[in-house]
Symmetry: C2
Subunit: 190 residues, 2 copies
Amino acid sequence: MARKPTATKRSPRLDSAAWIEAALEALADGGLEAVRVEPLAKALAVTKGSFYWHFADRRALIDAMLTSWSDGRIAAIRQQSGGAGTPDMRLRHLAELYTRHANMRGLAIELSIRALARSDARAADAVRAVDSERLKQVAQLFGALGWTASDAQARAVLFYSYLFGESLLDAKAVTVRARETAIRALLAPP
Amino acid sequence: MARKPTATKRSPRLDSAAWIEAALEALADGGLEAVRVEPLAKALAVTKGSFYWHFADRRALIDAMLTSWSDGRIAAIRQQSGGAGTPDMRLRHLAELYTRHANMRGLAIELSIRALARSDARAADAVRAVDSERLKQVAQLFGALGWTASDAQARAVLFYSYLFGESLLDAKAVTVRARETAIRALLAPP
DNA sequence: ACCTGAACACCGTTCAAGT
DNA sequence: ACCTGAACACCGTTCAAGT
């Protein structure tokens, strides 16, 4: 693939993607309240005035962040649920991705966005798009395990409800035993 | 019970409880970001300066809100999980409380607090206290259904994980059928 | 005991001017 | 094409003064 001529950095100047990345970082660290123009500008070592070259206002940054998150999650789930292995193995792999500590940043972002979605229509749209794709992919895997379409859909909801719910509880309350009980019940054959 | 002499309002002046109630209302409607001194003062029809008679700063209000929420939830769970009926009936009743639309406000508040708990130690404490009491009460009910202490604890985690998780998903994705599948599996006898 | 009103700092937003 | 710097508005915070 040919390298674009602009791929080599000609200056330390930013593009909008850099602001979105910094915004997601702030969201993970301190919630929506931490996604603020001046602190982000400070982190990126520019004046806050330069922010308004890339975005109309703070709200536009939040919307861009939501789109970026939504697109990224949808691409990820397609990649994660495909690939090699039996449906059972793939579901176990997905369950691990959602409960591992390595994914703390992702879960923090997701939780903040889902909290925002309760009062914000655009966030609700982003969540709906991501959920729809996730449930579709996971329902397919349950279908491959032998469940009817309707049962597979119900199991997919159960699967994600449990994984998200677990991430909401105090981490110490969730023992390895509890998780094993859950995963075994979730993946029990028809 | 004797009525306290101060129970009759002598003036339209506020106490800290009124600020906390307004703060919880704002939290439910617009998340933590909406819990701000000046808008709250406007809603309560006082100047923002008066806020600082009741609280040291915005953070103190948030802390008071967390304590109020935590105390209220712990009192509620004790009341809800006690009472008449078989353990099975009580668990079904609890499950309904967490999935009914009438509880939207409570769920919105809970979600915002759990999102905050990811980056805030005091919010994490409040969540821990509430979870601990909820899991304890629900584990007792599962114990009464015949599960061992360890299984009952695991089931309690499963129970709340599912209910919280469901509240995170897009409401339309959760069919009556999916919920019935879940509840039946959760409450299956040993 | 609770509130007002004025003051100040911080951050969102605008915009003319720079490179 | 992207950024600075100054300006202004909004809101958190302080505090002397009112009732």
